[in-house]
């Protein structure tokens, strides 16, 4: 699959809000400044590594820069950069740099959680642990679905795979998590 307009553009593709026709923003610097934080968060969730995330994004931007005009004009910049981030995470993973996340950037809870909150936190921790164990592409699919709220067609565009594959990545992960949560509940 190529990056094209087969699916709706991603929500953050560089479109000039001042343009009556929604023309693409051609200023790469402005776009990076606007999207850098979100892209790093995406990279962090995909890699689980807070140190690798900015580097992955900057590598992806380096790849996008020479093609920026075309990407901005086609409305595929966001997809391209995200795909580069995912590809970068796969490369690092394949090179044996697969790191078990030992860091936890989460801040300390300011107060004692309620019983409901405790249950949700436990579920979220289980979900995070599961995501860390997934291969990079599947992990990216799950992040794109449940963090970025993207449609499967858009996930497929970014991951350069058929839509059914993107859907399969997500639902297999969901199935595993549901099973783990159910097993945890039965143990309780």
């Amino acid at each position: 699959m190529t990056l094209s307009q087969e699916v709706p553009p991603l929500p953050n593709d560089p479109v000039d809000p001042a343009s009556p026709r929604g023309e693409p923003v051609e200023d790469f610097g402005h776009w990076v400044a606007a999207r850098g934080g979100a892209l790093q968060r995406f990279a962090y969730l995909v890699t689980g590594n807070a140190h690798d995330a900015p580097d992955l994004v900057q590598d992806a931007l380096a790849h996008a820069l020479p093609r920026w005009k075309q990407l901005a004009a086609a409305g595929t910049a966001e997809a391209y950069v995200r795909r580069s981030i995912v590809n970068g995470s796969i490369s690092r993973w394949r090179k044996g740099r697969r790191l078990v996340a030992v860091e936890d950037v989460e801040s300390v809870a300011p107060r004692e959680p309620t019983e409901d909150e405790t249950a949700r936190l436990e579920d979220a921790d289980a979900a995070w642990q599961l995501v860390q164990s997934l291969p990079p592409t599947q992990r990216a699919a799950v992040v794109l679905r449940f963090y970025e709220d993207l449609a499967f067609a858009q996930i497929a565009l970014i991951l350069d795979c058929p839509e059914t594959t993107a859907r399969s990545h997500v639902h297999r992960a969901l199935g595993r998590l549901r099973q783990q949560l159910a097993e945890g509940a039965s143990r309780d």
Partner: protein, 426 residues
């Protein structure tokens, strides 16, 4: 019974809206991502800065001065037009030297210095030429060209890739402080110790560069380092100003130890370099100034003209590069000046920021025998005040009078207002 969530072909629910059944696993994933993402602190990215400098508004009064003495200059042009300079007045120098011929390389160096340029030092040894920056000059082989160092060596992965603009011959590095550089993050492919920089080893060339220290720019440590037969020497040149010390970096390849020592031992300070340029010039001032000489330079009949480029706004030695024009090169320049309309321009006042001066300026020094050279100043990288100023006249920049100035490195034009596109550079 099949769980509908596991059916990859099931219709997709509305994008971004969680299943109303509130699948616990989905909620857990959303919670996990949201909490981690919120706690993650993004790092400041180095974003590209495609600099389009805003130029200062300068007093309009400076722009309206009549050009005098056209007839005399035309006479000079005729006399100089049959000279043997090899430069084409209309050709612009490239910031890279890929593909530059050996003849060009020679022309870029000492071959231009055929005219009589008063200098404060000795002539270069046979086969060598002087390369000067600030108030330091060093002899390098005549075959070493002037070239811009790679823009982002840390982004070059391999020779020939999209970032690769590294010179392919030994070179003297131009001062590139005013060059626009994409400020994007790259992970360098580095095999040598960090002191050798980020350029991939396959692209190394013998090279010489100058660095000026000062209140806002500390110099790195002097020393000598080797890697796979290559030697990097970095030394501070004695005699330079304590406020503005100059450090020279020399990279030489295997078997060039004697050459390296020869280059190093030739380093000296100067007041006037081999091309007849002063280390410091009034044209460095942030404000536009006019030469105070009693005689207008453009009325004279020179035997050679020094083209001396300076960084503006500093008080130390600011020479960024120099050339000496003789023969046809000088003739083309003088003819262009003689035929230029009087007054300042091209200007675009609407592009201006009045508080920001231009980055660089040029002093032209007209040599005539043993007399003190007459000077003219050239301003070209602003949106107002552009032109060639002598003691009592100003002429506009045109392709004919401006391009000869920038025909070759190390004199270069890194930034200019859009109104000068097609004027000083093609």
């Amino acid at each position: 019974m099949t769980d509908p969530h596991d059916d990859p072909t099931r219709p997709e629910p509305d994008r971004g809206v969680p299943d109303p059944a509130s699948d616990r696993a989905e909620a857990a994933l959303r919670d996990a991502f949201a909490r981690r993402a919120n706690a993650f602190e993004p790092r400041e990215l180095l974003v590209p800065t495609r600099v389009r400098r805003r130029r200062p508004w300068l007093p309009a009064a400076a722009a309206v001065v009549l050009l005098a003495g056209l007839g005399v200059v035309v006479g000079v042009t005729t006399q100089g037009g049959g000279g043997q300079g090899s430069d084409s007045a209309g050709s612009a120098a490239s910031s890279s030297v890929r593909g530059r011929s050996g003849a060009d390389s020679l022309a870029a160096g000492s071959a231009e210095a055929q005219g009589a340029a008063p200098t404060s030092g000795p002539a270069a040894a046979p086969g060598m030429r002087w390369a000067s920056r600030y108030d330091v000059e060093v002899q390098v082989p005549s075959s070493w060209v002037d070239a811009a160092p790679p823009t982002r060596p840390d982004c070059i992965r391999k020779p020939g890739d999209s970032w690769d603009d590294a010179p392919r011959t030994p070179y003297v590095a131009s001062d590139v402080r005013f060059r626009s550089v994409p400020a994007i993050g790259c992970a360098p492919v580095r095999t040598a110790p960090a002191v050798f920089g980020d350029l991939p080893f396959a692209l190394w060339q013998p090279s010489l560069s100058f660095t000026q220290g000062g209140p806002a720019a500390d110099l790195v440590a002097d020393g000598t380092w080797t890697y796979r037969g290559w030697t990097l020497m970095r030394w501070s040149v004695p005699g330079t100003s304590a406020d503005h010390p100059v450090q020279v970096s020399l990279l030489t390849g295997p078997g060039q130890h004697a050459l390296a020592q020869r280059i190093r031992s030739s380093a000296r300070t100067f007041s006037i370099d081999a091309n007849g340029c002063r280390a410091t010039s009034p044209v460095q001032a942030a404000d536009i100034v006019r030469p105070s000489a009693a005689t207008s330079a453009t009325r004279l009949t020179p035997t050679s003209v020094s083209v001396c480029q300076y960084a503006r706004g500093g008080d130390g030695p600011g020479l960024l590069g120099s050339r000496l024009l003789t023969g046809s090169q000088m003739g083309a320049l003088l003819r262009g000046i003689a035929e230029a309309p009087s007054g300042s321009g091209p200007n675009a006042p609407s592009h201006c920021d009045a508080s920001v001066p231009g980055d660089t300026a040029i002093e032209l020094r007209y040599h005539r025998g043993g007399e003190e050279p007459a000077t003219a100043y050239v301003y070209y990288d602003a949106c107002v005040g552009n032109g060639i100023y002598d003691a009592d006249s100003t002429v506009r920049l045109t392709a004919a009078d401006c391009r000869p100035l920038f025909a070759r490195l190390p004199i270069t034009l890194w930034s200019y207002d859009v109104v000068l596109r097609g004027v000083c550079r093609p």
